[in-house]
Amino acid sequence: MGTAVITQASPKYGPPTDQTHAEITRDVVATLDTAPRGYYYLIFACVGCFLVGVATFIALLKEGLGLAGYQPPIMWSVYITNFVFWVGIGHAGTLISAILFLFRAPWRTAVYRSTEAMTVFAVMTAALFPIIHIGRQWIFYWLLPYPNQRYLWPNFKSPLAWDVFAISTYFTVSTTFLIYGLVPDVAAVRDKVTGWRKFVYGKLSLGWQGTNTQWRHYSRAYLYLAAFCTPLVLSVHSVVSWDFAASLIPGWHGTIFAPYFVAGAIYSGVGMVLTLLIPLRKHLKLERMLTEYHFDNLAKLTLLTGTILFYAYGMEYFVAWYSANTFEQTTFWRRLFGPAWWAGWSMVIPNAFLSQLLWFRKIRTNLTALWVISIFINVGMWFERYVIANALGNDYIPWAWDQMNPTWADWGMLVGSFGWFGMWFFLFSRSFPVVAIQEIKEFVPMPMRGKRAGAKAAAGAH
């Protein structure tokens, strides 16, 4: 059998997979079969964490934001940190699914589905925090432009108003992209399953038949959507960065912020992808589809963005010194050597230095090492935002200086956000194909006699 031949001949970094269409479909659909008990524990854990968050939020509504560790002049603290953190997480997805698609990077196919899902859920998480963090949460909708008899409108000069639009746009588009990409796969699942599930997936597959016409329109539209998403990857986090850059706080109002934030976002995003995929791969038995080859590439992406971040950090310090602006200089000095030095270093070490380990292939292809590093990356990127918020603590008037001082209310909300995110992600991973069946299939040469080398070459060339 041809398949057998291919299997034998699969080189270490050859085509993304060595399976046949049939096997792929089978394996992927297999991920949707009844889950082991462990999975349910996981879901319950997530829901539990989420409820912690809910409880905290109710407490905030009753008692006021004072429960959290705000220490004026630090008026934004852990909630904004979480917000930026989660928006950042969201970025890898769109990058991998859209931009890499346009660049025709073969290795994305196996990972983009899960990353896209991650994006959507991360944005869903992030979007909660601006509401949680405002003083009077019950009137958050005043930030939306809607006609009213008071002739009152939001202030479009305010970066916070831009945020509303940036986030909502990003959420809508990435959700559409995810659902759209799912259609053929859901159809594939539909054809495998039986009973009520067949009915459900049937509805979700929007009557997909896989006819030639459908495929033609589908791929065109997919291409278009990808093109449409691409600028968002850059724009959204740039806008988020302007929340800070548009102010006059030393350490905030830097022109470097937009690129710096975007790089950071992708960095943290890929970090989170690794954190999630490595266990998932094992758990869903996708070793043959998600090979070292994929992780190697993800790691390279991490290395790239990490290095950009390294540069950005360096540049911030250089500019602070070069500007001869005492306010900037004080802020950046206190960032690493002030009272909150610990936060400063837990941002610099993982983000700037740890990522440099990925120059070594040995580490890139060692999943355990990669996973550990990815955890550090997540922590590091969370602290980056923490440190940025903490810059408020030492701005113009020394008399007012203070340090952020988080409380249970902050941690409760952080735990809650992870619960909320995890809940959605893991539910998704068991209800929909986490690897794109149809796209992987594209790389599998038709099982035909002869031209094996050619087939291999063709596959490799992709």
């Binding site: 008692e63 006021g64 004072g66 405002i134 003083g135 009077r136 005492t326 113009y396 008037i397 008399w399």
Partner: protein, 1007 residues
């Protein structure tokens, strides 16, 4: 006022309900998104009175009783409740100003810890009784006492005091006047030197060289507010022609007064007298005093003084020369914080110094006798009598000796021995708790009374509102009890009648009724001060005994009075507890001030609790490292550690007097100079301080220049360069131009845009703060709390840096290291109402925006609480309601004090200084009704109104006639904080002026 009374009794309706009805403008309303806190009922007056128009405040003249200075008050009432206290401009003592203690009187009036009605001891607690029972009981007991009757009165001199004496005399007893800070050493010294047992009145306004030996005349010594006014007048810099006085402070602790000195000479505690004598000697020689004095002073050379005091002979000589040369010198001594065992000698030395310098009769005026109490000796004697069972019935009126007298005097124990004790004060304080019968007096704002703080000044008190509780005027009580006991007392229906009769007799004239009405309106009767007699100093009074050195391994303790709490009567008022101490910036709790070097000796850091021990007792309190105190000296504020006196005061900190070893026959309490052991405990107490970083880091926030430069009319920058500093890094011209253009377009859109059409041209409100006058006393802060319904947030929130005071006094240190003298700079910082306000563009809902009259508006009900405005505020003057402060800051009945013109902010809302916009709008309404334009002075913000030094000027910058415009345009010392960020603040500061040789400030002494 009488009408007011009938009016309210007329309706006899519940005032609180009544007010929520008419105060439809927000008193006590928790602010929510679109809430209309519906009031179910509208309740009209029963009888309408012309002096009460809903929506229009009624003002009454009265007199302040928060300390013995007797300042005049104007009380603002709305719909029959007092909501704000301001100074009475006609009054000679305070001329329209009022200190934080005076203003906080309101929180005494509405204090939950007031005794709510007559009560009798029953078991551990008290049982309510009727007034008739109470009065009967009093009469019976006093009669039964058969002469073994004693009265302790903290009340001021006046008609009531005479009634009290008459009552006591009828009952065969006597009255002891008790005032904790009674300046006995001053009186004893003047007795010895001039043969006059009295406290003179010092005129700081006339002086041009002020030499203070530990007399904190800006805080608690003498008549602080009057002296602040005087000090600002002479020491504040107006123009080269007037120049400014020089102020030198001698003493081991940098008090607020010392912080306002041009030079602070830190001596070994108790050795101030040595310096005084040396200066006196030099002056006596220079001015050729009579031989007796000269010979008596002969031995006290500068070298000797230097050895005694730890200064250098040069320093002493410099001071002596300056003092001798000065046209109008004045030396003062006898501050509570410097009341050492040898305080009498110090005061005598200073009296002699004043005499030889010719200050007596010019800057130091006798004959007005500002004495209030009978001195510690008298009260201690009474204590002894009580201990020996010589007193069967004791009546304590408006005094708290059980708390205020140190434990070592044993007064509390002696008082407890008295079989029957009656209390006629207002608060459930330590003394009240120890009494058997409580007959609570009306608060000063609820009663008829008069006050004579000094010869020639007689202030009237009139009730400005119905009593809050079921209290009764002690005068009425005495009259009733007297009748019951058959005493011969003035025959009058009640004290009001008696007072009116007395005054009409006193005023005389053809139309006593008219005169009485006029006196009421003016707040009293103010005769010119009697001429000061010529006095000759008695050389025999010149003595000096060196202070007892602290024993090996021990430290010297100064128990210093707090300018906020006074002798501890302020500790039940949250406004005073949360208002940070002017120099240490501590709130809500006392801390022991220790010099960093001293702290090293017992390895204590900020907040670590130490135990201070003496034979008399021990106290524990956290350490606060304070550079403004001499090494080896500890300082602890008085007024804390109450064991009663209401929820705010009770068990808060420790009472410094507990460690003072005072002899039972002491002539005065030596608050300073106690030698104490120090043991570091394991305890820690985070300090609720409002200070972040006390150094300016070269940011030019609090500017200063030497007097010489100010006289030359140099600008801050020029002076700074002359002193060898680097240039300010202000933006280049092109940058300013660019911003100017941007700003103009913004203004176009804002002011002349559609819908922004006020009638006539727009005002542009602005403020100027003169740092050469500002003493950092913090009266403005309390004024702001009262006017703008600011909530106090409590210690635990202050620890989180969440205090809400719209106006804060920043205190920056200069020098204090590398041999440079320590200098304190005070800057009041409130919203700067920037023209290019960074807070405005970032608010997503336009809650922060620029009004057409140049204010930086903050619309509470539009605010959703993103707090971006505060992040983006370079001055950090925006304050956020982190919790529902409005739910706890006004416990019953304090909410009655709320200003109905100002919205009470709910949680989740940003707030900040509004330039008292309610006052601006009110003035605009009035002007509109009179069809005229606003004129300068129509609007005075609460802080400007209160400022004793007149350092704050407010007005319209578009009005060419306004004071503020002139200052902004012409004054050479003008500058803006953080000028380089181009936000165009509407608040202009005038650099502080230090009267020292420029060399002192050299090499960038600015920051």
């Amino acid at each position: 006022m009488a009408e007011n009374t009938t009016m309210t009794t007329g309706t006899g309706l519940d005032r609180r309900k009544f007010l929520t009805v008419l105060g439809a403008t927000g008193a006590g309303a928790a602010l929510t998104g679109c809430s209309t806190d519906r009031v179910a009922k509208l309740i009209p007056y029963g009888t309408q009175t012309e002096d009460q128009v809903p929506g229009i405040p009624t003002w009454y003249a009265s007199t302040c009783t928060e300390c013995s200075a007797g300042c005049g008050l104007h009380v603002k009432t709305r719909e029959g409740r007092a909501i704000k206290l301001e100074g009475n401009p006609d009054h000679p003592v305070n001329a329209g100003k009022l200190c934080h203690r005076g203003q906080a009187g309101l929180q005494g009036l509405y204090n939950p810890a007031r005794i709510k009605g007559p009560m009798k001891k029953s078991g551990a607690g008290f049982a309510e009784i009727t007034w008739d029972e109470g009065i009967k009981l009093l009469a019976d007991q006093v009669k039964a006492a058969g002469g073994a009757f004693a009265v302790v009165s903290g009340g001021p001199r006046g008609t009531f005091e005479q009634l009290l004496r008459a009552f006591a005399q009828q009952a065969g007893g006597s009255v002891t006047k008790y005032e904790p800070f009674d300046h006995e050493p001053v009186r004893l010294a003047h007795q010895a030197v001039f043969g006059r047992d009295e406290v003179p009145v010092v005129d700081f306004a006339k002086a041009n060289y002020i030499l203070s030996f530990g007399a904190d005349f800006l805080e608690t010594w003498g008549s602080p507010l009057e002296q602040q006014r005087g000090f600002a007048a002479s020491h504040g810099f107006d123009d080269a022609a007037k120049g400014m006085a020089k102020h030198v402070y001698v003493g081991p602790r940098l008090s607020l007064t010392a912080a306002n000195a041009d030079e602070w000479l830190s001596t070994t505690p108790g050795a101030e007298a040595a310096v005084a004598l040396a200066v006196a000697r030099h002056v006596a020689e220079a001015k050729g005093a009579d031989a007796g004095i000269r010979s008596a002073l002969a031995t006290y050379t500068a070298e000797w003084a230097a050895k005694e005091s730890g200064l250098t002979a040069k320093q002493v000589d410099e001071v002596a020369e300056g003092f001798a040369k000065a046209k109008a010198p004045v030396a003062v001594a006898g501050g509570i914080g410097a009341q050492y065992a040898n305080a009498v000698e110090l005061c005598s030395a200073v009296a002699v110094l004043n005499a030889v310098a010719g200050a007596i009769g010019t800057t130091v005026r006798f004959g007005q006798d500002a004495v209030q109490g009978d001195g510690a000796a008298a009260i201690l004697a009474l204590g002894a009598k009580m201990a020996s069972g010589g007193v069967k019935v004791a009546l304590v009126h408006e005094a708290n000796p059980v708390y205020a007298l140190p434990k070592s005097t044993g007064f509390a124990a002696a008082f407890a021995k008295v079989p029957f004790k009656v209390y006629t004060g207002q608060f459930m304080d330590e003394t009240a708790a120890a009494c058997d019968l409580l007959l609570p007096n009306h608060h000063a704002l609820e009663r008829w009374d008069d006050v004579e703080p000094r010869a020639g000044v007689q202030g009237l008190l009139q009730p400005v509102m119905e009593p809050v509780f079921k209290t009764r005027h002690t005068g009425d009580v005495l009259l009733a009890a007297g009748k019951a006991a058959g005493y011969a007392l003035p025959d009058a229906a009640d004290f009001h009648a008696h007072l009116e009769k007395t005054w009409k007799a006193r005023l005389g004239g053809g139309d006593p009724e008219g005169a009485w009405r006029e006196a009421l309106a003016k707040g009293g009767r103010y005769a010119a001060a009697p001429a000061s007699p010529a006095l000759r100093a008695n050389p025999a009074a010149i003595k000096y005994t060196a202070p007892a050195k602290a024993a090996e391994g021990e430290y010297v303790l100064l128990a210093t009075p707090s300018s906020l709490l006074h002798d501890g009567r302020g500790t039940n008022k949250p406004w005073l507890l949360e208002n940070p101490d002017p120099v240490t910036k501590m709130t809500w709790r006392p801390a022991i001030e220790v010099h960093p070097d001293t702290a090293k000796l017992f390895d204590a850091r900020n907040g670590e609790i130490i135990r201070v021990e003496t034979a008399a007792g021990a106290i524990e309190a956290p350490v606060v490292l304070y550079p403004g105190i001499a090494p080896g000296v500890l300082s602890m504020p008085l007024g804390w550690g109450h064991t009663a006196y209401g929820e705010f005061a009770k068990d808060r900190g420790a009472n410094a007097t507990d460690v003072l070893a005072v002899a039972k026959d002491a002539k005065f309490v030596a608050y300073a100079g106690q030698s104490v052991k120090v043991i570091k405990t394991r305890g820690y107490q985070k300090l609720a301080r409002t200070e972040g970083t006390p150094r300016q880091l070269g940011r030019h926030i609090a500017e200063a220049m030497p007097a010489a430069h100010a006289a030359k009319g140099l600008s801050v920058k020029e002076s700074y360069l002359e002193l060898g500093g680097h240039t300010h890094d202000i933006n280049p011209e092109w940058e300013d131009k660019a911003i100017e253009g941007w700003y103009e377009t913004q203004k176009e859109m804002r002011v002349y845009g559609e819908g922004n059409n006020y009638a006539g041209e727009h005002p542009a409100w602005g403020m100027a703060v003169d740092l050469s006058k500002c003493t950092g006393c913090s009266s403005c802060v309390t004024a702001c709390y009262a006017e703008n319904n600011l909530p106090w947030v409590g210690e635990e929130q202050v620890l989180r840096g969440r205090e809400m005071s719209w106006m804060r006094i920043e205190r920056y240190w200069e020098g204090g290291e590398g041999g440079k003298a320590l200098e304190a700079r005070f800057v009041p910082v409130m919203c700067q109402h920037c023209e290019n306000a960074p807070c405005e563009p970032v608010c997503p809902v336009y809650a922060a925006y620029h009004t057409t009259d140049g204010l930086n508006g903050q619309v509470y009900n539009r605010c959703v609480g993103t707090r971006y405005c505060s992040n983006n505020c370079p001055y950090k003057v925006r304050y956020f309601n982190w919790r529902a402060y409005n739910r706890w800051a006004w416990p019953e009945p304090m909410q009655l004090q709320l200003n109905p013109e100002v919205t009470v902010r709910g949680r989740g809302v940003m707030e900040k200084c509004t330039f008292c916009i309610q006052r601006i709008r009110q003035a605009q309404h009035d002007a509109r009704l009179e069809d005229r334009k606003l004129k300068d002075g129509d609007v005075v913000t609460a802080c400007a109104q209160a400022c004793p030094a007149d350092a704050i000027v407010f007005g319209d910058m578009n009005d060419p006639e306004s004071r503020v415009r002139k200052i902004k345009a012409t004054n050479a010392r003008r500058y803006h904080i953080l000028e380089e960020i181009n936000v165009k603040p509407a608040v202009t500061y005038l650099a502080k002026v230090v009267n020292v040789d420029p060399a002192h400030l050299a090499e960038g002494g600015h920051a």
